[in-house]
């Protein structure tokens, strides 16, 4: 197990990168704690696989350093870093049995036979593979094959970290849940440093202690699932996490108000000093549907809107309202009445976020 540090890390596939867009991974300095489960979340092409390959040592970054427990490993091979990695599609050694597959990484490292046997049986037990140990790996289902791939990572007790590159892509939804629970449980039992790459927010949020959201090569936020939900530092985080994503409206500033299509919306108190007299940039006002309050017009801070529809989602309802030229979503609880004519929304200060050029102000 190891603490992983990124020191001014960056990578570009261009020989002479100039613009920020040339970077597959933009400058990044961070420290990841030992024994925690991390998820790298983002859409395809956001740089999460690049970062993962840099951590595992399959890719040497063009700039900066990677440190494991303070030791510079930037140019070390995966083997020297003592990393385990599970890939998107199951990698198994066709001609070997399940047992031999699981024992392979240990035997290559000349681990004594008795220890190999003990570890293999332990991991097989944890992954429900005990009954298949003597079978040839090639004959198993994709689920079982992917479990073997995971098992080959878990079998090494001394790994610095285990990396998962979208490992549940080929698994059917039901088994996905079981396997994710299993991984979570193994993580809790062994306290391994795990890094999990995915584009599925549910997978990331249920698996990880901390989620790193990547967007266009930049890590826009690293935080607990709760932090990502309550305080998105970047409009992309607000939009990508949560279903539906955050409501965003382009706005201009007028003192302690944001003006959306000329309609004044009070800004949260903490934000006002940060933007006072500095109105340069592209501003957006954001609030999650869960926090946007639908009320009757007339109250303090209530902005009149027009309700255009209500969707029943089973556990809650979702109102669609129009504010100026913008469409907003607001989550309602089951009993709440929807005002027909004199509807308004209130923006609670704590949950109202102001973004300048996509980044959270203050």
């Amino acid at each position: 197990m190891a603490t992983i540090q990124f020191d001014n890390l960056g990578h570009s596939y261009h020989p002479h990168p100039g613009k920020p867009e040339d970077y597959a991974l933009r400058r990044l300095s961070q420290e990841w704690e030992d024994g925690k489960a991390y998820a790298l979340l983002g859409p395809s092409g956001c740089g999460k696989s690049t970062l993962l390959n840099i951590i595992s040592g399959l890719l040497v970054p063009s700039e900066g350093r990677v440190l494991f427990d303070g030791l510079d490993v930037t140019r070390c091979t995966p083997e020297e870093r003592n990393i385990a990695q599970v890939f998107q599609f199951p990698v198994i050694y066709d001609t070997m049995t399940v047992y031999e597959n699981l024992a392979f990484p240990l035997r290559n490292r000349k681990v004594p036979a008795a220890d190999v046997d003990r570890r293999v049986r332990q991991v097989a037990e944890a992954l429900d593979l005990t009954a298949d140990l003597k079978k040839r790996a090639q004959r198993l289902t994709p689920d079982a094959k992917q479990k073997i791939s995971m098992g080959r990572g878990l079998v090494r007790s001394d790994v610095a970290a285990i990396l998962f590159d979208e490992p549940l892509t080929v698994i059917d939804p039901h088994t996905k849940w079981i396997l994710r629970r299993k991984l979570r449980q193994i993580h809790e039992d062994y306290r391994l440093t795990m890094i999990y790459v995915t584009h599925d927010q549910v997978e990331a949020l249920t698996f990880a202690d901390k989620v790193a959201v990547m967007y266009e090569g930049a890590m826009v936020q690293l935080g607990t699932p709760q932090e990502l939900f309550e305080n998105p530092l970047h409009t992309f985080v607000g939009y990508f996490i949560g279903s539906p994503g955050i409501n965003l409206m382009p706005c201009t500033l007028g003192g302690d108000h944001a003006l959306v299509d000329g309609i004044a919306i009070p800004l949260p108190e903490r934000t006002v000093p940060a933007v006072e007299g500095r109105a340069a940039g592209r501003f957006e006002l954001g609030i999650r549907p869960e926090f946007l309050e639908l009320t009757r017009a007339g109250g303090a801070g209530a902005v009149p809107v027009q309700v255009t529809g209500v969707d029943d989602l089973g556990t809650s309802r979702l109102a669609t309202v129009r504010l100026g030229s913008h469409t907003l979503k607001a989550r309602l609880n089951e009993e709440q009445e929807v005002p027909a004519l004199d509807a308004a929304v209130r923006f609670p200060g704590r949950w109202t976020k102001l973004y300048r050029d996509s980044h959270l102000v203050n």
Binding site: L58, T77, V91, Y93, M96, T97, P105, N108
Partner: protein, 291 residues
């Protein structure tokens, strides 16, 4: 579940039946017919039973040719298969100019007509004007494929290696290219040695193409005719006379139709038997690795 019974489907495969019948079954049966008759001329045929087969099986020249043939085919397989695998492993991957160039260069020998290959090597090996022969002569090696049977034999073998190793290499290369990069990365992470990568990833993934390569190379080399015929004419003596050349001498040269027909059938059965044995061995070694 009820299966739909519809015999009209048979009509759909009638064309295939006809093509196979006229291209394979009828000619083969004609040969079977010849093999049990003595033929003096059109209309003058006598049934002789298994006499031709007995004659063929007792023919010493044929025994010699068969032994020569088996040694030759085994040598071809033992050289071309490992060499082809080695070349394929060393070939550049990806889509680059280097890859295309290598592929084209490798494919070149395969594009040359068989008798031209024989002619090329016949000139190549000549002591007076051939590059190979003249070089040998210049460094003092008395190389002469027309008078020395060992030289002739080795030249025919090297010619085959030159001509056909590319095929094995290209087949293996295709097999190697189908391995996803994740396998190599996983092997690296598992700490596998180069040998282990070959043994547990590359070789198993190449098994399918290797079956094809071994069968193709076996059948082709076992039936080789044109190249040695052009290069050495089967000589010196009978040292490079392989089965098909002996068969041709018998059928066309001596017009021994009945005996040649019996020979053909035995020949065909031998090729079939060997192919079956190779196929079984290769498929079984893959399957049988369970402990």
């Amino acid at each position: 579940m009820d299966k739909v019974q519809d015999n009209r489907a048979w009509f759909l495969i009638i064309p295939v039946f006809l093509i196979v019948a006229f291209s394979a079954v009828v000619p083969l049966m004609t040969v079977v017919n010849y093999s049990v008759q003595e033929i003096f001329g059109p209309g003058q045929t006598f049934f002789v039973g298994t006499e031709w087969f007995e004659a063929v099986l007792a023919d010493d020249r044929l025994h010699d040719a068969l032994v020569r043939q088996i040694i030759y085919s085994l040598a071809v397989l033992l050289i071309e298969i490992p060499l082809g695998i080695l070349i394929a492993l060393g070939m550049p991957g990806g889509r680059s100019a280097r890859t295309s160039l290598t592929l084209v260069l490798l494919a070149l020998p395969l594009l040359i007509p068989f008798n031209v290959v024989g002619t090329i090597w016949q000139i190549f090996g000549r002591g007076d004007i051939g590059l190979l022969g003249a070089t040998f002569r210049a460094i003092g090696i008395d190389y002469n494929y027309t008078s020395n049977s060992a030289h002739a034999w080795i030249t025919v073998l090297v010619m085959d290696v030159w001509h056909w190793t590319s095929l094995v290499a290209l087949l293996c290369y295709a097999g190697l290219q189908s391995i996803p990069p994740a396998f190599y990365q996983a092997a690296k992470i598992d700490g596998a040695s180069k040998w282990a990568v070959f043994r547990y990833i590359q070789l198993p993934k190449m098994r399918g193409v290797l079956i094809i390569a071994v069968l193709l190379r076996f059948m082709d080399s076992f039936m080789i005719y044109t190249e040695p015929f052009v290069l050495t004419g089967g000589g010196p003596g009978n040292s490079t006379t392989f089965l098909s050349q002996y068969l041709t001498q018998m059928a066309v040269g001596q017009f021994d139709i009945g005996k040649a027909a019996a020979f053909s059938i035995v020949y065909f059965l031998i090729v079939l038997l060997f192919s079956f044995v190779f196929y079984t061995i290769i498929t079984r070694t893959g399957e049988g690795e369970r402990k």
